[in-house]
């Protein structure tokens, strides 16, 4: 009997270890094999691996605990897919030693962060998150910079380089890669729906687009607009809309100066809905259209209307001549920013039909150029008379504030 009892403990002990081994086989090794198989079936032919800089950035991302607030895993759930984009496939994480999936989301998921934000936004945000997002609770990382958001050290560059890899390979592979993966994947219908469904690969509401439709803004409520402006816009564009908020310091080009420009409703609707591609201005598609209309109201209110001086005909004629020689290439003959060269620049040339700079702003841009954009300084090329003539001339394209 005693012997038997001893045996039973031996058996139970072995059973216990057996169960532990089984747990590893069942929940570690076997899923690993299934994942490996899925990776083989679905991955694009040569997904680019991380460069040395991206790899270093990944280490910093891990070291600072980024993964403890930002997941890198879009779940196979309608809400995840709607908010962040298509569900994460196994092959998308094959370069992650170790994985950075995360189990807590204080900030948004970053699986598809590549291409959403401009580099100057990322740097400024790393340097001082609340300079851009007033309610953010993200830690600041000033030690990755040499004293200013536009002076990133190599470490900060590495981090931003790494962020630009998140979701990149899938975006590069799409749509052919996704079509291939969809056909080859041995997935359930649910998995297929969430990983390859009809929605956008990257559902970030903030990603800037150069073209696209936008909702027509109705009349807004200015007091609501002020709240929305204070929460979302003020830190870059400034309390008085002069483009001098505390977040502006590290941005290039600088945030728009609303006090120095008149905008059509179309221009504001487009910029709010699509962002301004090539700049730090994100799209604001996660705000309600009524809020967008309200904030547009506030933005237009920053510009104090002045009586327009009468410009002599010969000045305008000179301005027209200079414009067609020097400016129309980019800004277009009709001033709508659609000249033949416009497409080759990351930042679209100003469309003077939808936005009219104040004369001082216009002159300053002509003399000094606009930093962070292809707009060059013309002070050396053009005479003072030509400069002021064309500064006046571009203001005549404006199609009026009512649109």
């Amino acid at each position: 009997m005693k012997r038997l009892l001893r045996m039973s403990y031996l058996v139970a002990g072995l059973g216990g270890v057996g169960f532990f081994v089984m747990s590893i086989l069942l929940l570690g090794v076997w899923p690993g094999r299934a994942l490996e198989q899925q990776i083989q079936q679905t991955q694009p032919e040569h997904p680019p691996a991380l460069t040395a800089s991206e790899q270093r950035g990944r280490v910093i991302y891990g070291r600072e605990g980024c993964a403890y607030c930002h997941t890198q895993q879009i779940r196979y759930l309608p809400n995840d897919v709607k908010r962040f984009g298509k569900a994460t496939l196994a092959w998308e994480t094959i370069f992650d030693y170790p994985q950075l999936w995360g189990t807590r989301r204080i900030g948004p998921d970053l699986s598809r962060e590549a291409g959403v934000r401009s580099a100057d936004w990322q740097f400024s945000h790393l340097y001082g998150p609340r300079n851009l997002v007033p309610d953010s609770v993200m830690p600041a990382f000033p030690w990755l910079f040499a004293g200013a958001p536009d002076r990133p050290t190599q470490e900060a560059r590495d981090v931003v380089d790494y962020l630009e890899t998140l979701g990149r390979d899938r975006a590069l592979a799409a749509p052919e890669g996704d079509a291939h993966a969809r056909a080859a994947c041995n997935c359930s219908d649910d998995e297929r729906r969430f990983a390859f469904g009809p929605g956008p690969l990257n559902a970030s509401p903030s990603m800037a687009r150069r073209t696209g439709d936008f909702p027509k803004l109705a009349a807004g409520d200015r007091s609501r607009g002020r709240i929305v402006y204070a929460r979302n816009c003020q830190n870059c564009h400034g309390i008085e809309g002069e483009g001098d908020g505390k977040g502006a310091a590290g941005l290039s080009p600088k945030p728009a100066n609303f006090a120095g420009h008149e905008y059509t409703a179309t221009r504001l609707g487009f910029a709010l809905w699509n962002g301004v591609s090539g700049t730090a201005m994100p799209a604001w598609r996660d705000l309600e259209p009524a809020d967008l209309a309200s904030v547009a109201e506030v933005v237009r209110g920053f510009h104090a209307a002045q009586t327009e001086p009468a410009i002599p005909k010969e000045v305008l004629a000179l301005g027209a001549r200079v414009y067609s020689d020097r400016c129309a290439q980019c800004h277009g003959t009709s001033g709508s920013g659609d000249g033949p060269a416009a497409g080759q620049f990351p930042v679209a040339p100003t469309n003077f039909r939808t936005q009219r700079p104040a004369i001082a702003v216009s002159l300053r841009a002509l003399r000094n150029g606009i930093e962070g954009t292809p707009m060059a300084p013309w002070a050396g090329e053009l005479s003072e008379a030509e400069l002021s003539a064309v500064a006046f001339y571009v203001r005549t394209f404006f199609s009026g504030g009512s649109q």
């Binding site: 005693k2 001893r6 403990y9 059973g15 216990g16 169960f19 532990f20 089984m22 069942l26 929940l27 570690g28 899923p31 690993g32 299934a34 994942l35 490996e36 899925q38 891990g62 070291r63 600072e64 605990g65 980024c66 993964a67 403890y68 895993q73 779940r75 196979y76 759930l77 995840d80 908010r83 569900a87 994460t88 496939l89 998308e92 994480t93 094959i94 370069f95 992650d96 170790p98 994985q99 950075l100 999936w101 189990t103 807590r104 989301r105 204080i106 900030g107 001082g128 998150p129 609340r130 997002v133 309610d135 953010s136 609770v137 830690p139 030690w143 998995e191 929460r231 996660d286 705000l287």
Partner: protein, 475 residues
């Protein structure tokens, strides 16, 4: 009573190690909760860390959980083992010399360098595995030495008729040794989703194979030692033990529900999580029946800590079974609900049990100082603190979940959570004060006060009588 304190604490107990590990545990505890407090503060004052990388949120977060698991609970468990293993086996631990090595490695090559290396920017971004690999090597070494220190007494005694605490101790020492490398080394070698499958296993094994078994070993030990009655049912104890060790390792994948990990693995883990809740009801029923007659708040402070720990264990396990279900998981996963859950587990269940075990062993060191009133006050502060914090975080999680479900911008969920984060910071007052006062209580008062306390209340029982009871009831 009639026994001198010296004979009351069996000479086989290496009391200096109970004391040393107890001291290290409490110091590590106070430091670890400060890391937690600072991290919680920085979510309200994110720029409080200034320009220095050393106290940035991520690093504090890493040090908080690693400090709690290894520094506080690890040391507290060792202290308990030095008290309990000789009593459970009637044999000395392997070697005091080895004890010095374990103490040295654990504290001076694991906890302290781990903390410093993390703050200096050398870490591993894996949950419950944040100390860097070089430290992990010493953890494994210390666990190996601990197995050599504590297991042979059980084997030389023979495995027949082992009391359930002994089984938990053996289980914890063996399985932690197996699971730790899997959680800490494998994801460095296996990338992405495949590595995450192993991380998921480890996240649950850390709590299920290290923390829970040792906490339960304490609960099962303190209850019969303090109530002077055998445990209600040895059969239920053993059933609970084996079910636990079979089910816990199968839980891990529930951290990645709705991920790309194969659905059958997810469903298996969810099933195991559900069954685990059932098993815990069994275990807790047995413990509660063993506690019957002592009231909700027993007079013996160790027993009171342990009894409350048992209640938290029931609640946190049922909560765990519930939140593993797909319908619940899809909402509350990623939210503060889970942070509340883990605080109920590590603070409400494990830390209360560890404190109970520590106070129990401490009182039986004849020369250790002890102040009953302070331990008592500490208990109430801790109870108030942990209940408030868990309730607060649970609600915060629901608020966040509902914000995420709506079309509101992400930042709205952050904005909505801030008042709850403020409450969480405030709960540091009772929790921090509670732990501090208990600590002071164990180092203030006159030497031997703990033993006197037992004598006055229930009469001192020589350890020589406890040990056989624990062994006898098996028959």
């Amino acid at each position: 009573m009639h026994d001198s304190p010296q004979s009351a604490s069996s000479p086989a107990v290496e009391m200096q190690f109970v004391y040393a590990h107890g001291l290290a545990a409490l110091v590590a505890l106070l430091i670890s909760i400060c890391f937690g407090f600072l991290a919680a503060m920085e979510m309200l004052l994110p720029d409080a860390a200034g320009d220095s990388p050393w106290f940035t949120w991520g690093r504090l977060r890493y040090d908080h959980t690693q400090g709690i698991m290894l520094g506080w609970l690890g040391n507290a468990f060792f202290a308990f083992l030095y008290h309990a293993v000789p009593l459970l086996t009637g044999r000395r631990v392997t070697s005091p010399k080895l004890g010095q090595w374990i103490f040295g490695i654990w504290n001076f090559l694991v906890v302290i360098p781990g903390w410093i290396l993390v703050l200096a920017g050398h870490s591993q971004p894996l949950e419950w595995a944040e100390f860097p690999l070089v430290v992990d090597v010493f953890v494994v070494l210390a666990l190996l030495l601990a197995a050599v220190q504590f297991l042979p007494p059980f084997f030389s005694r023979g495995l027949e008729d082992l009391y359930v605490s002994s089984w938990y101790i053996i289980g914890a020492l063996v399985f932690t040794l197996l699971a730790y490398p899997m959680g800490n080394f494998v994801p460095e070698l296996v990338p992405g989703a495949r590595g995450a499958a192993f991380s998921g296993l480890w996240i649950h094994d850390a709590i299920g194979l290290f923390v829970t078994p040792l906490a339960l070993a304490i609960v099962y030990f303190v209850i019969p030692a303090a109530t002077r009655r055998p445990i209600f049912s040895h059969f239920l104890s053993m059933l609970g033990f084996w079910l636990l060790f079979f089910l816990y390792p199968l839980n891990g994948t529930h951290h990645y529900v709705f991920s790309v990990i194969p659905m059958s693995a997810q469903i298996g883990a969810i099933t195991a999580s559900t069954l685990l809740g059932v098993d815990v009801v069994l275990v807790v029923a047995n413990l509660m029946l063993s506690l019957r007659g002592t009231g909700w708040f027993p007079r013996d402070p160790a027993l009171r800590f342990v009894g409350t720990s048992t209640l938290f264990y029931l609640i946190v396990s049922i909560q765990g079974s519930v939140q593993a279900q797909m319908s619940v998981n899809q909402s509350v996963h990623f939210s503060d609900w889970v942070v509340g859950h883990s605080h109920m587990a590590m603070l409400g269940f494990a830390s209360f049990a560890a404190l109970g075990g520590l106070v129990h062993a401490w009182q039986r060191i004849p020369w250790a100082r002890y102040h009953a009133g302070m331990v008592n006050v500490g208990y109430w502060l801790l109870l108030a603190g942990v209940v408030t914090m868990v309730a607060d975080l649970t609600i915060a999680g629901l608020v966040e979940a509902s914000s995420w479900k709506s079309a509101a911008p992400w930042i709205e969920s952050v904005r909505a959570a801030k008042p709850y984060w403020l409450v969480r910071v405030l709960t540091f007052l009772p929790i921090g004060a509670g732990f501090l006062i208990v600590t002071i209580g164990l180092f203030a008062g006159s030497p031997g006060e703990g033993l006197k306390e037992i004598q006055q209340q229930i009469g001192l029982e020589p350890v020589s009588e406890i040990a056989p009871r624990i062994a006898e009831e098996v028959r």
